[in-house]
Structures are given as structure tokens and as C-alpha cells.
Amino acid sequence: MISHEDSERLNQAVEQLPDKYRVPLVLAYYNDASYDEIATSLSTSRNHVGVLLLRARQKLREELE
């Protein structure tokens, strides 16, 4: 799991994420957009937004390992 101690590295890792993962992550956790709003913005489904966020988090964890 990601912890506060990693905040600086986490920030770098977020910036390095591919747009595919970074954009939904930022929309969800920075802009507080709902899954449905993100799905509409990205022309995709709510569940796919979930999968993208899941992957984004996995990648962040891998980067911080």
C-alpha cells in the first residue's frame, strides 16, 4: 500500500504515468470528479474508469516498491 512517507516519489510517479492512467487518476482524486463524469469526459464506461484507476494504482505501487 502507498503511504505518506512516499509523497515526493509518489508525486513524481503520478507525473510519469501514461495519460491513459494519469488523466482518470487526476480527475478522480484531484478534481473530485465522479466515475460517471470521468466516463462521460473520456467517452468510456464507468467500469472501465474503475479498471483504469485500479491499474494506475498498481503502477504507482510498483514504482514505489
Binding site: M1, I2, S3, H4, D6, S7, L10, N11, V14, E15, D19, K20, V23, P24, L25, V26, L27, A28, Y29, Y30, N31, S34, Y35, S41, L42, S43, T44, S45, R46, N47, H48, V49, G50, V51, L52, L53, L54, R55, R57, Q58, L60, E62
Partner: protein, 538 residues
């Protein structure tokens, strides 16, 4: 209900589920501390990410949002197929560029579907390698062998915990062993036209020969490997004979086993002290010829006028026996004729799909020492439309059920696999290419391992792993396809897996193109395995 999936956990933590979707999950959470802990961890993680993003003013979103369209139906599968097809085409194109007319010629011949012509192909390929490519192939194999040796020794050194000096010594030894041009125990000869080992000549090593016509009048003390349009052996081969030719005639003596494939294979007044293996349109063992071991033959027409010292196995339309078989004869044939004073010392087991009384003709003087037994042809050898039999559908159901159980086990053991998706674009091409290379190169590497370095046990384990990977590749692909078809956040893995498996089983059984689809799907599946392994490794 079962534990929450990672996706359910995330969507619940992010308040992205409807109340109807949340209710059953809440019920489960009340009774499952494991899932409750996981949910708490995911929620905490969200807070950490939010804190970091909020603190940082430099968070950017592109002005123009990239297209994120979720694959519509099986679009990605189609794209992956296209990518795989293109990779195959590129590989073929490169191969053609490398070997020019030889391969063009080869494909023309292969598409003629005239099996004996493939012997021409084998001959011209071998001649090409001898004339043009021997050095290149030698170097290539040396590099592979050196690579394998170095890898093996490195692994051994690490495993044994030896010192660096020891490892370096092993490495140097490996390189020296591979690059030293040792005297070959194989005598290689080739000729565009006729190649003869004259009557007085003795070849003390094994002999590898290729040419239009190969005639062996002398003595070969080792094995004989002959590839030509016509192979004639009048002399003596003290080892084994391995030959592929349009026409193969053996009039001399072979002390070992004969394995031959051609349009016609003839033993004329020949002595074969080992076993005799032959596949040809017509196989003849003439009167005066003797096979001391077993004789296994596949052909349209087999004529045995000589003698076979042990068992006979024949796969043919018609089998005519006027000579003798000392032990049993097992015949897969439309018709077996025992002519004149034919002798079969043991049992005659005849496997046929035709009427029994028409299948065996026996002259009054012919003798079968044991019993004559008629056995129905095995199901897979019967000449009938498999789609019309209930067994086919039952078999496919069993196959589906087996793959389903394996798939569920796989997804249970490795839950991350549920969220694997087919990549498009460059990644798709890369994965398809790597999948193809892995699928094709593995058996070649295993063969090299088997004959060069570590030996058969490692190769056998590798072969088993390769076959398992072919199976699992399609199971994994089925899960991915299923996820494309069925899209629901609270789904378990079972329904998508089943849907994907149905698609794959149907696709691979389409008459005509099922085989090609099977290959393409396997390549894509191999690419997916690479994708997963690569992601995990990183």
C-alpha cells in the same frame, strides 16, 4: 458471497457504486474482516493520493483529453488479430527477403499439395544450405550453443555459490568449447547431380549426403543420412539409415535401423538388421529381402514378399503379403491379402471400417499362427464428418468444462489476471511479435537443449511447460474476451471466462479456418502471457 474483487473494493472506496450494488457488498463486509481490512487499506491509499495531488500545484491534465473509448465488443481482439497477422506477414516477408527464390519456390511447391514434391523441396533446401548458407547457419548455431552454455554455467555457478574466478573459468571454457573447430565426426558431401560412394570406397564416419541422385556402392561405417531425389544403396551401411527421397531403393545391407520417407520405398534383396520404418505412397519388401526387427509402414499400398523378423505394423489402403512376418501383424487397412504361402507367426489384428469379410483375403496355402482378430477402426481414424457425431459435441463440452475449471483456478490463484486487457497500437504489435517468437522458437531451443547441452530431462520439462503455456494462453485470452463481452463491476470471473471460452471453442472449430484461428489465438495468448510476465517483472 465470495470475497470482494479488487475492482469492487476500489469502486466501493471511491463511492462509485449504486446503492443496489453496495447493499450485498456491505452485507459481506459485516461478516468478513479480511475484506473490511482491504477496503480500509484502499480507502487510506486514496487519501494519500488525494493529499499528494492537492498539495502539488503542478498537477496537469492535457487540454485535449485523449480518446479513452472502451473497446467496443471485440474490436481489440480484431485489432490484435490484425497485428498478429501483420507480424506473421512481416516475418514471412523477411524470410523471403533472406532466402529469396528458394522460399518462394518452396511455398509454390507446398501449395501444390502434392506430398512427394516436398522431397524436392527438402533436397533443394539442403543444397541451398550447403552452397550458400552453411557458414551462416554454423555461426548461428554456435552463437545459440554458446549462449545456452553460458546461461547454464552462469546458473550453475550461482546455484553452487562458486567464486567469481570459478565462474569466469567456466565461461572461458564454454566459449573455448564452442568456438574450437573440432574435427567433425560427420562426413558431409553434396552434389547437384549424382553423388556416388564407389564400390571400393569406405567412409569411416557417418555420412551426410545430398544431391539429385545418391548411390552408395561402398561401405559406410557410421550412419547414413541421405536426402535426394533418388537414393540407391547397393553397398553396406553399418549404422542406421535416415533418408528422404522421391525414390528409395535398398539392395544392400544395413546393420542398424532404416527410417525412410519418399514416394516409393523398396527393399530389393536387402538385409536390414534393425527395425524398418517407412512412409511412402508405395512400399515394397521384395522376395529375398529380410528385416530382422520390426517393420512399421504407412503407405497407400504395401507389398511384403520378403521376411520380417518380428512384428509388422501397417497403415495402408491395401496390404499384400506373400512373404512372412515372424510375430504379430497389426494392420490398419481397407484390405489385407495373404497371397500364396504367406506366413504370419503370431496374431493378425485387422483394424478396418469396412465389412470384415471384404477386408481379409486369404489363400488356402497362407497360414496365420495365432488368431485372426477384427477390431473396429479407432474413432479418430474413421472417415466421416466429425460435426455430425454427438461424440464431437460431447468432446467439445468436456473440453470447455476442463478449460473452465482450469481458468477459474488460474484466476483464483492470480487475481490480477482478471484485469488484463489486450493492448492496441505499438504494444499490441510488440506482444504479438513476442508471442509468435515464443511459440515458434521454444521447441527449437528445446531441441537444441536436448541434443547439445543439458539433455533430455530439461527438454522434456520445457516441452511440458510449452504445451501447458499453449493451453493456458487460450484460457487467459478467453477471460480477456469474456471481459470484453460481459461488462459488469460486481461480476465474478466465472461468467466472462465461460463466455470467452465459448467464443474460442466455436472459433477454433469453424471448418476451414478453425486451424488458422486457433494459431492466431494461441499467438495472441502467448503475447498476453508475455504482457503479464513483463508487467510483473517490472
Amino acid at each position: 458471497m465470495s470475497h470482494l474483487t479488487a475492482l469492487q473494493c476500489l469502486m466501493l472506496a471511491d463511492s462509485a457504486l449504486s446503492s443496489a450494488e453496495v447493499a450485498p457488498l456491505q452485507l459481506h463486509l459485516e461478516t468478513c474482516p479480511t475484506c473490511a481490512d482491504r477496503l480500509q487499506a484502499v480507502t487510506n491509499e486514496r487519501q494519500v493520493i488525494q493529499a499528494v495531488l492537492t498539495d502539488d500545484a503542478g498537477v496537469t491534465i492535457p487540454e485535449k483529453l485523449p480518446a479513452f473509448k472502451k473497446p467496443v465488443g471485440l474490436r481489440n481482439l480484431a485489432m490484435a488479430n490484425l497485428a498478429t497477422g501483420l507480424v506473421l506477414w512481416l516475418a514471412q516477408f523477411m524470410w523471403k527477403t533472406l532466402f529469396g527464390e528458394l522460399i518462394v519456390n518452396a511455398f509454390t511447391r507446398l501449395t501444390a499439395i502434392y506430398i512427394p514434391d516436398t522431397y524436392d523441396l527438402v533436397v533443394s533446401t539442403l543444397l541451398y544450405f550447403f552452397n550458400e548458407g552453411t557458414t551462416m547457419i554454423d555461426n548461428y548455431f554456435e552463437i545459440i550453443a554458446a549462449g545456452l552454455l553460458v546461461i547454464s554455467l552462469a546458473g550453475l555457478a550461482v546455484f553452487l555459490g562458486r567464486s567469481r574466478m570459478m565462474f569466469v573459468s567456466c565461461l572461458l571454457l564454454a566459449i573455448t568449447m564452442v568456438t574450437t573447430d573440432e574435427a567433425s565426426a560427420l562426413d558431409v558431401r553434396h552434389d547437384q547431380d549424382m553423388l556416388t560412394i564407389a564400390a571400393g570406397e569406405t567412409v569411416s564416419d557417418s555420412l551426410f549426403v545430398a544431391g539429385e541422385t545418391v548411390v552408395i556402392d561402398g561401405i559406410i561405417e557410421g550412419d547414413l543420412l541421405a536426402f535426394a531425389q533418388r537414393v540407391i544403396i547397393n553397398g553396406e551401411v553399418r549404422g542406421n539409415v535416415l533418408t528422404a527421397a522421391e525414390s528409395i531403393s535398398i539392395f544392400g545391407q544395413v546393420n542398424g535401423t532404416v527410417a525412410s520417407a519418399g514416394r516409393t520405398v523398396e527393399l530389393g534383396d536387402a538385409i536390414v538388421d534393425g527395425d524398418f520404418w517407412a512412409a511412402a505412397r508405395k512400399i515394397t519388401i521384395d522376395r529375398g529381402s529380410r528385416v530382422t526387427g520390426n517393420a512399421t509402414m504407412a503407405s497407400e499400398s504395401i507389398n511384403i514378399a520378403g521376411s520380417v523378423g518380428r512384428d509388422g505394423y501397417t497403415f495402408a489402403e491395401t496390404v499384400e503379403i506373400s512373404g512372412s512376418i515372424a510375430a504379430d501383424l497389426e494392420a490398419f487397412a481397407r484390405q489385407v491379402s495373404l497371397i500364396g504361402e504367406a506366413r504370419i507367426g503370431g496374431n493378425l489384428r485387422l483394424r478396418t471400417e469396412h465389412e470384415r469379410e471384404d477386408s481379409l483375403q486369404q489363400s488356402p496355402a497362407a497360414l496365420v499362427g495365432g488368431v485372426i482378430e477384427f477390431v473396429d477402426m479407432p474413432e479418430e481414424l474413421r472417415d466421416e464428418n466429425r460435426y455430425t457425431t454427438p461424440e464431437f459435441y460431447f468432446g467439445q463440452l468436456i473440453r470447455l468444462a476442463g478449460a473452465f475449471i482450469v481458468g477459474l483456478a488460474l484466476l483464483w490463484l492470480l487475481p490480477r489476471l482478471r484485469y488484463v486487457e489486450l493492448e492496441g497500437g505499438t504494444e499490441g504489435f510488440k506482444n504479438a511479435g513476442i508471442g509468435l517468437v515464443a511459440l515458434v522458437s521454444t521447441p527449437i531451443i528445446l531441441l537444441l537443449v536436448a541434443i547439445t547441452l543439458v539433455g533430455l530431462p530439461i527438454a522434456a520439462i520445457g516441452l511440458f511447460t510449452w504445451i501447458l503455456a499453449i493451453y493456458l494462453a487460450k484460457v487467459l485470452l478467453a477471460s480477456v474476451i469474456g471481459n470484453m463481452i460481459i461488462d459488469s463491476p460486481d461480476r465474478g470471473p466465472a461468467l466472462p471466462l465461460l463466455a470467452g471460452l465459448v467464443v474460442i471453442v466455436v472459433a477454433t472449430n469453424i471448418p476451414g479456418i478453425g486451424g488458422i484461428l486457433n494459431f492466431l489465438l494461441t499467438v495472441i495468448g502467448f503475447g498476453l502471457i508475455y504482457q503479464v510476465v513483463d508487467r510483473e517483472y517490472r
